[in-house]
Symmetry: C3
Subunit: 349 residues, 3 copies
Amino acid sequence: VSKSYSLAELAGIFGVPLAGDGGTRITGVADLKSAMPGCISFLNNSRYKSLLSATRAGAVILAQQDAAACPVPALISDNPYALYAKVATLLHPDEDLQSPAGIHASAVIAESAHIDATAIIGPLAVIDENVRVGARSYIGPGSVLGKRTVVGEDCKLAANVTVYHDCKIGSRVIVHASAVIGSDGFGFAPEGEAWLKIPQLGAVTIGDDVEIGAGVAIDRGTLNDTIIENGVKLDNQIHVAHNVRIGAHTAMAAQSGVAGSTHIGRHCAIGGAVGIVGHLQIADGTRLHAFATVSQSIMESGEYASGTPLEPAAQWRRNWARFKQLDDMAKRIRQLEAKLENLEDDNNA
Amino acid sequence: VSKSYSLAELAGIFGVPLAGDGGTRITGVADLKSAMPGCISFLNNSRYKSLLSATRAGAVILAQQDAAACPVPALISDNPYALYAKVATLLHPDEDLQSPAGIHASAVIAESAHIDATAIIGPLAVIDENVRVGARSYIGPGSVLGKRTVVGEDCKLAANVTVYHDCKIGSRVIVHASAVIGSDGFGFAPEGEAWLKIPQLGAVTIGDDVEIGAGVAIDRGTLNDTIIENGVKLDNQIHVAHNVRIGAHTAMAAQSGVAGSTHIGRHCAIGGAVGIVGHLQIADGTRLHAFATVSQSIMESGEYASGTPLEPAAQWRRNWARFKQLDDMAKRIRQLEAKLENLEDDNNA
Amino acid sequence: VSKSYSLAELAGIFGVPLAGDGGTRITGVADLKSAMPGCISFLNNSRYKSLLSATRAGAVILAQQDAAACPVPALISDNPYALYAKVATLLHPDEDLQSPAGIHASAVIAESAHIDATAIIGPLAVIDENVRVGARSYIGPGSVLGKRTVVGEDCKLAANVTVYHDCKIGSRVIVHASAVIGSDGFGFAPEGEAWLKIPQLGAVTIGDDVEIGAGVAIDRGTLNDTIIENGVKLDNQIHVAHNVRIGAHTAMAAQSGVAGSTHIGRHCAIGGAVGIVGHLQIADGTRLHAFATVSQSIMESGEYASGTPLEPAAQWRRNWARFKQLDDMAKRIRQLEAKLENLEDDNNA
């Protein structure tokens, strides 16, 4: 499913300079190597400039400095990858968001819900009392919106998404299938040998332009809301515990987890399978490598990592066992240094 | 959504001493710092006693030893946090469990299913043949109960929960959205280059007072049942493999995983993202730090951990590479010690 | 739910030799210890031969070399575990796949969808435009198939599965509940402080005989498809990012994750909670221990691992802190060696 534009039209829409034949028709996107005529590609890094000469693309998005090397028409941009994102989005609009407005006959909608007339409610969606769904938002098949939940404009909740009661979702938010927003935080008081449930009375507030991956779970706050700020991008199967705050434009890769009450700053880049324990502060702009485990606050922005290298299992087993002796080894090195110093003193004496 | 009680009523309901004006009206809960009149708060730790003087709470739940320092009416308890849990639950009952009893017209219920007249079956729930749902239990929108599954009394299965056939769920069990109970265990026999599926013929048995987080997956047993004992609390996105047993009142934080046939004891506290391999025994009362990886049985209760510290990436990279030399380093320390001993002997000779 | 066969019938069906009374009736399977008459069990490893003498099983599947030690009738096989898998599957066929063919009245099926007359479409399933579902395939309650998706023959999609548009699923594929196939890959272009979404225009192609666990998420490719080859087995809660390829007959245990564009070879065995970063190659036949973290390509097949041992927390804390000194320790050992050599030279001089 794609639309068709002339290169000149694209240059006009995005306000960028055009090099070459503006009449070139563009109907899709592709990478430089596999692009066919009719496709527009992009070059984001001059290092790969050599790919230009052989490309069969109809046009290329690139920086001014690479334009001379381009054998086909081009759109010029300081940020070719960002312009590519915009062109690709224009050429390949989300098909679900293009569906006719209205509520599918099989959806179950509470009378008190307010669904904008331009919204698209898919088959077998369930929308509970006093929910509000904004203009042009899409609620996919089997998705469930709990009481009083608010969904802004131009959102897309895919299939089988669950949003618990009283959650607030901004505009232009994408939520993928099986994601859960507003489940109870994990809070219990010990009494004797049992655990008593602490009611989780906050909700979840999600800003604008957030994307939430498949199978993500974001727990509601204990007393106040768990907060996901504007522009946050969460990959699949991330866990966000109660009372967490994730700062604007932070991106987290899949399977990461954030324990309760931790506040992550803005513009952080967090790799896959990262774990962050509870009640921490993570500074704005922090970068965490995949698999990092964070057990103390990070007060200074920077790039952090933890973990050990992959090794052939036989070799790993030996080093693995030695880890238990690490403190002992350090002490023995200190002793050796002291003894050696004494010996040297003796020899020099 | 909350109810209103006088402080004297609360003291009566929970059988605890009251200090101050029993007529104080309580309609909600809050922490000491943000509580407004009408809210009850709690002080669980004398260390934070200084917060009492400035609180605007209508009343506070606290220990006898802290009562003198409390400027507002109070409920006295040996375990203020547990009493808080009970009061908060009374003031803020689960709204879903308060819904009118009955089966939503859009739910699909097999004729042979037995649904208690006081149960609440949400829209678009699917209840298969010979299922039993007990008194006052709530089955949320889009949830699916497979053939012959039994759900006890006062349970809450949130939206889009899947329970496969023949599983048994006790009473007062909470299951959050997108959780899966009774999926096939991961069992295959190699034949040539292919894997043959081993039918998973057991089911899952879940005790009373269990809570299961969003996106949790609990596999059915191979021949017998996977077992979750009474009072177990599982946070979001936990994986429980086939034939596992989790002992009573054990709590596991999010994203932990337990491989096949491992038996976890009672009263264990397992941090987030912990991994436990298969066929192990974990002693009662074991505590595992977040991110611990367990590859051998734990026969003695205690506190265990594994892993390496977070470091600035440049520093981490050097230490990471050295890990591969750890066994070599240990041997060289041993050699240095031997040589040094020889030298000292020579010098003393 | 099980069928009944005589041992002679089973020998005939699977073409294997029979020892003892072929009239023995078999109605189920069990392990050697708990088997009752009427059950068939198996012995896959001569090491456990001693269990044979006490078994009450009606019959046992075993290797020729163990037949003499078996007090009950037997089926003889070079690969007893594989034969057990086949016999168990015959005796306990999947009940869902035995359901009467047809489309449940509550399912929502697009007019343009093509559902084979022998397929089984469960209650409240949603099947979008131009979807194709092959012969005898089962689509469970609440499952959603996006536009133009193709499902082959003899598949089973359990409840609440989501397949996005344009995905291709082979034959004899099993997908467990809450799994998501075809969600958007995690691709964004930075522009100023924001992230721009890169449309994910590929889909997911899944081969034959694949099994996909509960809560698994497989993202669609950016321009081409994410590919899961024939015979791959994915346990619960695995994440497969965009543009990944997983080679035939590779098995991955629960909670593992594969980042974008990584290609995993054929016949790999990947433990639980393994993480693999993006843009890597993993050689055919690679074995990765549970919890391994892979940040470089593996060009040579073999067994690999990473990580540190579990320790009592107090001991761990000391070794954990020393890890930060590892590079320093290595340098000091080198210095000690050099100094000691000098001293020895001096002494020998």
